[in-house]
């Protein structure tokens, strides 16, 4: 469990991440969590033996700015978030080769983009009338 957690908004978030950098923290990983219309991004840092979280909740349509200018090690995991959640991280290209030709889009989202139309079941054919045997 993290020792400290900060809930940030998109306005305060950058300041929190820069604060971690200034403090000499180490970026460990980020975990994205699906909340149907919103995505929660939990950044985990390690600093002086303690684990610190910075949490950001934004709608899927919003951009999540990259933190690779401050923590280059975040690059891979940001790109994975694009692949698995369809998050918008400017400058981060998908790289898991999941989507090309497979029809898989954002597999870790509970409510997938465009899934409603695709998933609508085709009407079942009317059962054939029973034929009596005479």
């Amino acid at each position: 469990m993290a020792d400290d957690a900060v809930k940030a908004t998109i306005a305060t978030w950058r300041g929190e991440i820069e604060g971690m950098k200034k403090a000499g923290a180490r970026f460990v990983v980020l975990a994205a969590v699906d909340h149907l219309d919103d995505i929660e991004v939990i950044y985990l840092f390690h600093h002086e033996g303690a684990l610190k979280e910075v949490k950001l909740m934004v709608p899927y349509e919003a951009d999540i700015p990259s933190i690779t200018d401050l923590f280059p090690s975040a690059g891979f995991v940001e790109r994975e978030m694009v692949d698995l959640f369809g998050a918008k991280v400017p400058g981060a290209a998908p790289f898991l080769e999941l989507t090309e030709g497979s029809g898989i889009v954002a597999p870790l989202r509970k409510k997938r983009p465009g899934a409603a139309a695709a998933a609508a079941p085709a009407p079942a054919p009317a059962p054939a009338p029973k034929q009596g045997v005479s």
Binding site: M1, A2, D3, R26, F27, V28, V29, A31, A32, V33, D34, I42, L44, G49, A50, L51, F71, P72, S73, G75, F76, V77, D83, L84, F95, L96, E97, L98, P107, L108
Partner: protein
Amino acid sequence: MARTTVVPLGPQHPVLVEPIHLRFEVEEEVVVGLTPQIGYNHRGIEKLMENDWKKNNFLSERVCGICSHQHSTAYTQAVERVMGIEPPERALLIRTILMELQRIHSHLLIIGLEADAIGYENLLMQCWRDREIVMRIVELISGNRVHYSMNQVGGVRRDIDDAKVKEIESALAKFDERFADLDAIMRKDPTWVKRLKGIGVLTRQQAWDLGAVGPVARASGVDYDVRSTRAHPFCAYHMLKSFKPVVREDGDTWSRMMCRMEELWVTQKMIRECLGLLKPGPITVEVRGHPNGQAWSRVEASRGELVYFVKGSGKPALDRVKIRTPTFANIPPLVPMLMGCQVADIPPIVTAIDPCICCTDR
């Protein structure tokens, strides 16, 4: 001005057993650019884990065949933290013994593969022969050689009785001589030293900035070992006096391998200490309900820090499981290691990070 040539290595290549694509740009024989690409082996394990939390113990082991117990321990520990469960001391010691046995066979495996990468096949055979000692111990303990299925939320599934303790101690004694031989070869053998010293250097700052973990970070002077953390103790490491992180300063390929060699000695001592600390007692506690909340869990796997994030909402199925494997963290540092190196040095430098693409892609 030399012409730049692109040399693709992988995703299918005889040198790389697992699928990763490394796109090299070379000028004559010197690497001037590298773009790593992963994802060819993605199995959707995080998605599969949005399932019955009790079954995920077994699934987490399938993330990797080399560090299977370490994955399972990280997952189990995350669920235990969410549910507020304290496993018994004996279970923690048994988990630690298996964590460290797995470290021995993983390090012997990669030292052997590194020997193979530089054409030292005899040493590969020797390492893998010695690795067999561990494989037999884990089979004795768990009945399995790869996926032990030892962990369960609240403890472990099998005990280690006194007869097994004696057999483990006797098997560990064989390593006194074997490790001494291997240590001497790795320090003095001209084939090993000349091929590995001074190549693939990663500075301390690069290791820190790029988030290197495990022996890759520690060989560059970054003293980062989850086993030494006192703020978030895991397994029984907080009880052990014999543990001391191995940190080296040079940051080259030879140092990364020596870091693992020196860890073998430490690990052997730790297993002996754990065996001595085993006291009669339960190996599980009762578990009720379903995980409701979220938690992080970190363990020091053989390749470095392994992180699990688990989120549940009081139902049998979990909402989210996130896995950050050590190789996932160690691929970005490969770029500065390989820049400026000779093409012939690419295989030993890549092998020295102990890459596990199976883990990385999940």
